[in-house]
């Protein structure tokens, strides 16, 4: 009896120690985002913990994708978009003037909702990034990167005999894994995923989810998803957004069994109306 109590306590302690060992890889502090006059994000403080999967959830238009896009300055491409507050990568503000956005996006890669391979061969889809970022000195370097990236994305065995065929000829799930391989190829530290499975069937979804779980060993991942079950399955932490505000953030296990905030509860149980 006592042994059980002890081991439970021990487990808790270990869990706490482990949580402490994972510092924030990225942090938002007082983040506001405006599209012209309209404010889309209000004063959000959120940490993306290293080597964890953080799920951003909330109803459409709640600002979760907007926040995700701040993390590698994808919002820069929208003229009327303005971001205030601090967004830190390893403690350094990514909106500082001396930040090279191209380099930032290599460190913080992105995978989109719809798989968007370049209209080139499978090989070239992956080789393109490392080449422009100067990550390879010669042809064999490139080949090695292509192979390891495809392996890490769990796609290599399926495409190894047809690397010269167009990436667009793959199935939807394979294309998405090709996009993940492409993101991995430039050795990112963080991977952002904006509903990466919403265009995939359940099997392809399961394969990508399995991949996400493997990837978090080496990468930090933030994922926007509309599927509550997916958030519950793949993430360690969940952040709930509503009308541009961060409502609640916490351990995923707790969020989906006993959320603190009523809005979270209403949303994840399908009562939000």
């Amino acid at each position: 009896m006592d042994m059980n109590v002890m081991s439970e306590e021990l487990k808790n302690d270990i869990a706490k120690a482990e949580a402490g060992a994972h510092p924030a890889k990225m942090s938002g502090r007082g983040v506001n985002v405006f599209y012209g006059e309209k404010q889309a994000i209000f004063n959000v403080d959120l940490d993306i913990i290293k080597n964890e999967v953080t799920a951003l959830i909330g109803p459409s238009g709640c600002g979760k994708s907007t926040f995700l896009r701040c993390l590698n300055r994808m919002n820069d491409t929208i003229d009327i978009c303005r971001v205030t507050g601090d967004l830190l990568l390893d403690g350094k503000n990514i909106y500082d003037k001396d930040i090279d956005v191209v380099e930032l996006r290599a460190r913080v890669g992105m995978v989109f909702q719809k798989p968007n391979p370049f209209p080139k061969s499978i090989f070239e889809n992956i080789a393109y990034g490392p080449r422009i970022h100067g990550l390879a000195r010669n042809k064999s370097d490139i080949e090695e990167i292509v192979v390891t990236s495809l392996q890490k994305a769990g796609l290599f065995n399926e495409v190894k005999d047809r690397l010269e065929e167009p990436g667009t000829g793959l199935s939807g799930g394979q294309q998405q894994r090709l996009c993940i391989a492409r993101a991995i190829a430039v050795s990112p530290e963080v991977i952002l995923m904006d509903e990466p499975c919403s265009a995939l069937d359940p099997i392809a979804t399961a394969i990508v989810e399995e991949l996400i779980d493997e990837l978090r060993e080496n990468y930090t991942i933030a994922i926007v998803t509309h599927s509550m079950q997916q958030a519950a399955r793949v993430s360690q932490r969940t952040a709930m957004f509503h009308l541009g505000k961060l409502i609640e953030v916490g351990e995923t296990d707790q969020m989906f069994t006993n959320p603190k905030h009523e809005l979270t509860q209403d949303y994840i149980t399908g009562r939000y109306g």
Binding site: N258, I268, T269, G270, R271, Y272
Partner: protein
């Protein structure tokens, strides 16, 4: 649960599970009541009926299990909905056990036969029964109303049942010492009393489940009910 689900049939499903549980609990309550009456009146026919009716409760439980599993598969409930379904499954277990307690008493009734003089001397058993059944009724009402305060009261009142059981235990012991021919019936009665005391324990279990459904925690002070 201040809002309805967007998918209204989800609400219907949850209500059906909860309704089924209360229906099952109603049978169990009735069963224990009848079992003790058969004991006090030496009504063998009623005792046999009780044994038979317990099967009905078992059947209700498998129906409820099936419904809950289907609901989980179909709706994939989250948060309070998930606790609601898991809670119902656990409560059904307690209620099924309450039915078993009734059945166990009924079996002893057939075994003991007429209690003779002893019957008039064990009014404490009836008192214990009415207290346990009151607790059960109260906790089921607390569940139906999702009333945490009432559930907590049930949890706290279990001590009364325990105290009454202990005094009944001593009383029966006295009768046994008084006349060795009382030993057999009194031993049976002791088991009956224990069964009823267990009904009270199941009521407190249900109170804890009501708390779990409402809050996601079980914080009513942990205490062993073993005697």
């Amino acid at each position: 649960m201040n809002q309805s689900h967007i998918v209204t049939s989800f609400d219907e499903d949850l209500k059906t599970v909860s309704g089924k549980l209360l229906e099952m609990a109603g049978y169990a309550e009735d069963l224990v009541h009848k079992a003790v009456r058969s004991l006090m009146t030496a009504d063998m026919e009623l005792a046999r009926l009780v044994i038979d009716e317990d099967k009905l409760i078992d059947r209700k439980q498998s129906e409820l299990d099936e419904m809950a599993v289907l609901l989980i598969a179909r709706r994939q409930p989250m948060a309070n909905d998930l606790r609601e379904v898991v809670g119902a499954l656990r409560m059904a277990n307690d209620i099924e056990r309450i039915g078993d307690m009734g059945k166990s008493i009924a079996r002893r009734v057939i075994e003991i036969g007429d209690l003779g003089d002893l019957r008039t001397r064990i009014r404490g058993l009836e008192q214990l029964t009415s207290l346990a059944l009151e607790q059960l009724k109260e906790v089921l009402d607390a569940y139906a109303a999702r009333d945490l305060t009432r559930a907590k009261l049930v949890w706290e009142r279990d001590e009364e049942i325990d105290a009454l059981y202990t005094s009944l235990f001593r009383e029966l012991l006295t009768y046994m010492m008084e006349d060795p021919s009382n030993i057999t019936p009194c031993t049976h009665l002791l088991f009956c009393a224990k069964n009823i005391e267990r009904v009270g324990d199941h009521a407190t279990n249900i109170a804890e489940i009501v708390e779990f459904i409402q809050t996601g925690k079980i914080e009513f002070e942990k205490e062993s009910h073993a005697l």
